[in-house]
């Protein structure tokens, strides 16, 4: 020991073969430990079966104008509302300056299918399911949805108008397979 110490002193700041061994061994050790830690962390992310259930088809043919339904996608509620002409007009007439999270109604619907509003039914505040889909539920001050947990009001386009929620209700990726069927996800 004493000889190696004194010899390293003799060489001053020079890089030695032993330094290389230390760094190489330490580096590989850290890499090995890291590669063992990652599986322990990543196992908590969604498993393959959860990811496999990522899309769902919904039949819209039985929904009348003015009605809404609740579909389930990835374990979350999805609001599908067949909006009245009045509701669409109301949503399109809102100036963007009035919005906390500015988005036009056109950006939130499919072209040619403006009647249909498809949204993830989860309040962007802390994840409650807003009311306003079922008949007789409180639709809030803007005729859309109202979240009872912390009082967020959404309009007929699902945009946040009042309350603590920071963003509009999320629009999931969806596509019209034909005029009365959509696939979400």
């Amino acid at each position: 020991m004493s000889t190696s110490e004194s010899s390293s002193e003799d060489h001053g700041g020079e890089v030695k073969r032993r330094d290389f061994l230390y760094i190489a061994a330490g580096g590989f050790g850290a890499l090995t430990a890291g590669s063992m830690v990652w599986p322990l962390i990543d196992n908590l992310n969604p498993a393959a079966n959860v990811l496999a259930l990522a899309s769902v088809e919904v039949d819209l043919s039985k929904i009348e104008v003015g009605q809404s339904i609740l579909a389930k996608w990835r374990g979350k509620p999805v609001f599908i509302r067949r909006r009245t002409a009045e509701e669409i007009e109301q949503a399109q007439a809102v100036p963007l300056d009035d919005l906390k999270d500015p988005q036009t109604d056109e950006e939130r619907t499919e072209e040619g299918h403006e009647e249909w509003l498809v949204m993830v039914g989860i309040c962007t505040h802390l994840g409650c399911v807003p009311q306003g889909t079922k008949v007789g539920e409180n639709r809030g001050d803007y005729g859309g949805w109202f979240c009872p947990c912390h009082g967020s009001h959404y309009d007929t386009s699902g945009r946040i108008r009042k309350g603590p929620a920071p963003r509009n209700l999320e629009i999931p990726a969806y596509a019209f397979l034909d005029d009365t069927t959509i696939r979400i996800g």
Partner: protein
């Protein structure tokens, strides 16, 4: 004067055992011969009581886990099975459910005792911080335990609390998906919460041992907040405090068992006896009472500059707890005990009232007068710790401290 100070076993086997593994010497030093200031009042019993509540929760919890099924399809029914079929299952479950509340009651009294008597000050900063670590672990454990019965409140509490992390910029949603193990609170979430709910109490027990270890280095603080000057200021833990703590334990048990037998659901929500439904949110979600002050802070904060309300609320809530870690350096007054700090004492009780008001505000919907009460309460909470305490330690004229514990105790006796 102190015949029991050192451990001297007479039995040959005990002597042989303790020489090779001196665990009995350690226990004797901690529970029998541990010298304590002789002026400790009943508020000093709550540390022992907290240890007792931890033991109750671990024992009842291990038994409950033998009958419980952590699966979304069976969890709710398995809890009902425990309540209806398992021998004494109703008793063990009610003790565990209410035990969480009483653990928090005991710990809150323990914390507020420390706040009044300045027990967080040097040389006990690390002791105080270890206590806060235990408190944080307790909150995590209690929250995950609340989710296990898989009722409506379980499910929606899990949803709301995990969604707090979605406020983190950029990676928020990825964190939430990671916590859930899916795209919503579901079976993977329930499974991992069960696993963690089982293991965290043992982590708490380990930190509690460190907490006691750190306590026994400087010894206990006392109501006068002055240093122990010598053996004349002290008495042994046993029999004096073992007896005193046992008396307090019986007081605690009278109240605790009163609730368990006569009002077992008083502290919980009726909605949690409705099975979890991911498509229907209960009209009014509130956490259990022990989280209410923090819940009020979460909801009190509006948009601040470029930080949106949701993130600001989350930051404020976590700050309210993490702030306490800095307390030993915020309150720099050299006098520990509130007894000798006329101004501090008044602000201390204002803080107590403030936390209670926050608790009530947290239980109400965040609107109208209660929202304002929550906002005022939140502001005072932060002002108390960040402005008032640092200021007081500079300007306050404290009352003269007694010369010694012994002298103070004897003069009280003389005047009586």
């Amino acid at each position: 004067m102190h015949p029991s100070r050192s451990f001297e076993p007479k039995n040959g086997f005990v002597k042989w055992f303790d020489q090779q593994l001196p665990i009995l010497t350690v226990l004797h030093g901690a529970l029998v011969a541990y010298p304590t200031p002789k002026n400790l009042n009943y508020w000093w019993s709550f540390g022992s009581l907290a240890g007792f509540m931890l033991a109750v929760q671990i024992v009842t919890g291990i038994i409950l886990a033998m009958h419980y099924t952590p699966h979304v399809d069976y969890a709710f029914n398995s809890v009902e099975h425990i309540m209806r079929n398992v021998n004494y299952g109703w008793l063990i479950r009610y003790v565990h459910q209410n035990g969480a509340s009483f653990f928090f009651i005991v710990v809150y009294i323990h914390i507020f005792r420390g706040l009044y008597y300045g027990s967080y000050k040097a040389p006990r900063e690390l002791l105080w911080m270890l206590g806060l670590v235990i408190y944080l672990l307790m909150m995590a454990t209690a929250f995950m335990g609340y989710v296990l019965p898989w009722g409506q409140m379980s499910f929606w509490a899990a949803t709301v609390i995990t969604n707090l992390f979605s406020a983190v910029p950029l990676v928020g949603d990825a964190i939430v998906t990671f916590l859930w193990g899916g795209f919503s609170v579901d079976n993977p979430t329930l499974n991992r919460f069960f696993s963690l709910h089982y293991v965290l109490p043992f982590v708490i027990a380990a930190v509690a041992i460190l907490h006691i270890w750190a306590l026994h280095i400087p010894g206990s603080n006392n109501p006068l907040g002055i240093e122990v000057k010598g053996p004349q200021d002290q008495i042994d833990f046993h029999p004096y405090h073992t007896a005193k703590d046992l008396f307090m334990l019986s007081v605690l048990l009278i109240v605790f068992m009163g609730v368990v037998f006569y009002a077992p659901n008083y502290l919980s929500h009726a909605d949690n006896y409705i099975p979890a439904d991911p498509l229907v949110t209960p009209a009014h979600i509130t956490p259990d009472w022990y989280f209410l002050p923090f819940y009020a802070i979460l909801r009190a904060v509006p948009d601040i500059l470029f930080i949106e309300a949701k993130l600001a609320g989350v930051i404020a809530m976590f700050a309210a707890i993490l702030l306490l870690f800095a307390l030993p350096w915020l309150d720099k007054s050299p006098v520990r005990s509130g007894t000798f700090r006329p101004l501090f004492k008044q602000f201390y009780w204002l803080l107590v009232i403030d936390v209670i008001v926050l608790g009530f505000a947290g239980a109400r919907p965040a609107e109208g007068a209660w929202l304002i009460a929550g906002q005022v309460g939140t502001v005072y909470y932060f002002v108390h710790f960040l402005v008032i305490l640092p200021l007081l330690s500079r300007i306050e004229k404290t009352r003269p401290l007694p010369e010694s514990i012994s002298q103070s105790v004897l003069s009280k006796q003389a005047s009586a």
